[in-house]
């Protein structure tokens, strides 16, 4: 990564634009990180030739939900290491959540992220907190944060419990044209729950977190969004009940969007039968019924996109007992492989999967992206949809290694990423 390129040409592949859903055979010539020619290109003698035969050349992937822990927990991840992890997974744009220490609840904090990440291979878009200190009480300066570069607001893992505060946020945010992201969980119904409540939690003797802790809050948020006309985004949907509610309110015309994580469509609570803390996550892994409903939600458009909820934690923390070990898993490096494997098995095309990583998140954030534009810095991922691979620790670029996906077999892989002058991947070495 970070190696400078002069002139490179991607040849022999298929160029796919997920924003227009158009596909054509062709080459892309990149000079000093800038797209120079697209389509039928005469290969210059001095160009480094990248053989993309059988590969899909797509715009860089987008993740709208990641935790890079900076400032405050740089021992878990930094903007630089998080960007490295994202870049290796095919991402060129990442939105980072505000649950840092201190939280991103001011324009100063937003500017810190923007300035600190300016030279990284991945563009970092900060999400500001809804309330000061994520305390759920007083609204932050939405307008000043947006001016400083915030693209959405969220109190992240701390759900806004007070309905009036969320109402105010949904009304006020409309002035600045940004979505309000509320981690949907009724903390009283969650109670002490650490895994999905079911016969499995009963068998393991672990306190259960019922699916209604999510759907009850999703329902409240949808009602408030309907009443106010605000734009609500539901992060990491995990239950069938929530999918059904979102589908219903979408049909009613409510401004709601939703995301699902690769782990919620790829894993179930059965990953936890031996108290594996690496699979402890919020919201918890649910049942097969839920997993299937989430996939159906993606396929029928109820859920707009895939987002990783990349949540790095140290080994020391994940070595603690199950109750005290923190929730969360990393996901940027395995996101495409896992999602592509699961979704193509469910009947989706590779192109569709790419859309859930590009057009889906871009639409939620209101970004108009025209890919492969001549004269603009390249933002490209190269995909081998047929490659079979096993996810290993050596694939992890994050500073943390907490992934229950280690050892899983995937079909489909990002084999190269280009962002301006930066490149990553075997194909580009």
């Amino acid at each position: 990564m970070g190696k400078s390129i002069n002139l490179i040409i991607l040849e022999g592949g298929t160029i796919y634009d997920p924003y227009k859903n158009k596909k054509k055979a062709g080459s892309i010539l990149i000079e000093d990180g800038v797209v120079k020619e697209v389509g039928k290109v005469i290969t210059p003698d001095n160009a480094q030739k990248i053989d993309c035969t059988g590969k899909l050349i797509v715009p860089g992937l987008i993740d709208i939900h990641a935790h890079f822990r900076e400032p405050g927990r740089e021992d878990k991840e930094t903007l630089a290491t998080g960007a490295r992890a994202a870049f290796s997974g095919g991402f060129t744009r990442v939105c980072v959540m505000p649950n840092t220490n201190p939280p991103l609840d001011s324009p100063e904090a937003i500017r810190f992220i923007i300035e600190k990440s300016a030279d990284l291979p991945v563009k970092i878009f900060p999400i500001g907190a809804i309330t000061f200190g994520q305390k759920g009480l007083e609204l932050t300066e939405f307008g000043e944060m947006v001016k400083a570069g915030a693209v959405a607001i969220s109190d992240d893992g701390l759900p806004v419990q007070n309905g009036q505060v969320l109402r105010n946020a949904l009304e006020y945010a409309q002035k600045y044209g940004i979505p309000v992201i509320n981690h949907a969980e009724d903390i009283h119904l969650r109670n002490d729950g650490v895994i999905n409540e079911s016969s499995l939690s009963t068998r393991l003797g672990l306190p259960g977190n019922p699916d209604i802790s999510e759907s009850v809050m999703v329902h409240r948020d949808l009602e408030i969004a309907d009443y106010t006309g605000g734009t609500i985004h539901v992060p990491h949907v995990s239950t069938k009940r929530s999918v059904d509610l979102i589908r219903k309110y979408k049909k009613m015309g409510v401004n709601v969007t939703a995301e699902v994580t690769p782990h919620h469509i790829g894993l179930t609570e059965n990953k936890l039968t031996e108290y594996d803390t690496s699979a402890k996550v919020a919201p918890p892994l649910r049942t097969e019924l839920d997993r299937k409903a989430l996939i159906k939600g993606l396929l029928d458009g109820t859920i707009n996109c895939i987002a990783t909820d990349h949540a790095p934690h140290t080994i020391e923390e994940k070595e603690m007992d199950f109750i005290h070990s923190p929730c969360g898993m990393i996901g940027l490096e395995s996101a495409f492989g896992l999602s592509h494997t699961v979704l193509t098995e469910s009947g989706a095309s590779t192109e569709r999967v790419v859309q859930w990583f590009t057009k889906g998140p871009a639409d939620i954030m209101g970004w108009e992206i025209v890919p492969f534009q001549i004269g603009k810095p390249a933002e490209i991922a190269i995909i081998d949809s047929k490659q079979k691979w096993t996810f290993k620790e050596s694939h992890i670029q994050s500073r943390s290694k907490n992934s229950p996906m280690l050892g899983m077999k995937f079909t489909g892989r990002v084999v190269g990423t280009i962002s301006g002058k930066n490149t990553y991947g075997n194909l580009l070495d």
Partner: protein, 312 residues
Amino acid sequence: MGALKNKHLIGLEHTPARDIQKLIDTGFTFREVLDRPIKKVPSLTGKNIVNLFFENSTRTRISFELAEKRLSADVTNFSASASSVSKGEGLKDTVQNIHAMKMDCAVMRHPVPGTCLQLSKFVDAVVINAGDGTHEHPTQALLDMMSIKEKFGKLKGLKIAIVGDILHSRVALSNIYGLQKMGAKVTLCGPPHLIPRGIQELGVSVNTDIDEVIEWADALNVLRIQRERMGVGIIPSVREYRDFFGITQERLDNHKKEIVIMHPGPMNRGVEIDSSVADGDQAIILDQVLNGVAIRMSILYLLLGPDEGEES
């Protein structure tokens, strides 16, 4: 070693019926030892056992210690502070300490479910679960089954009811697994919101009418009701609990039937069970205590002792 299928005793969920049978049978052998004037045998001479208690316990700890000493093992006791557990510290250090001290066996009580399984994956020593949070308490269930067997001469076909706060009970879960494997039928009785979700999938019945349950059952295993759950919006009051779920003298008198009363202790006399019932002819609560020592000797012997066939 090798007398049982599993190297450790983590829970009865994964203990085969054959091993439960063997543990109970051997328990009766050791029960005879306990009736001798000199209650000590040399079976585990030279074995090092550490009792790790990360949570307060009086009777389980004493019972294990007695069992270990009567088998002539070398015993070390370790009690951790509640604060280190509440911060989630301790497990890794525990693992390393057991390695460093070259222990043959660790008996562990811990407030967090799953910790005994986690420990067993990282140490060479034999791990015995003395209660892991609201998960399992296999030695308690084994002594309960041994006591039932002593009273009835069998387990197969018996109807056993477990009464009380099932949701927060490790005793209930281990009893459910063990009793069903040995061919007994199990019914749970308690306030509906203290019956954990999906428990029927384990094969048990649920009936919240204590009088119907008394009519049905051969034996009642009465669970301790935690006083801290009283009057904090979970169990509204002692009088209401007694009225609807308490094993009172009056209630038993009304039924006019033979029924065996068990309690894992410590009891809240006058809450879940009347003093006169606990001390009455139908109760086998003190037999459970004595059998507790015998069954723990059996467990330690079968997991740590000389190979099968040799005399203890």
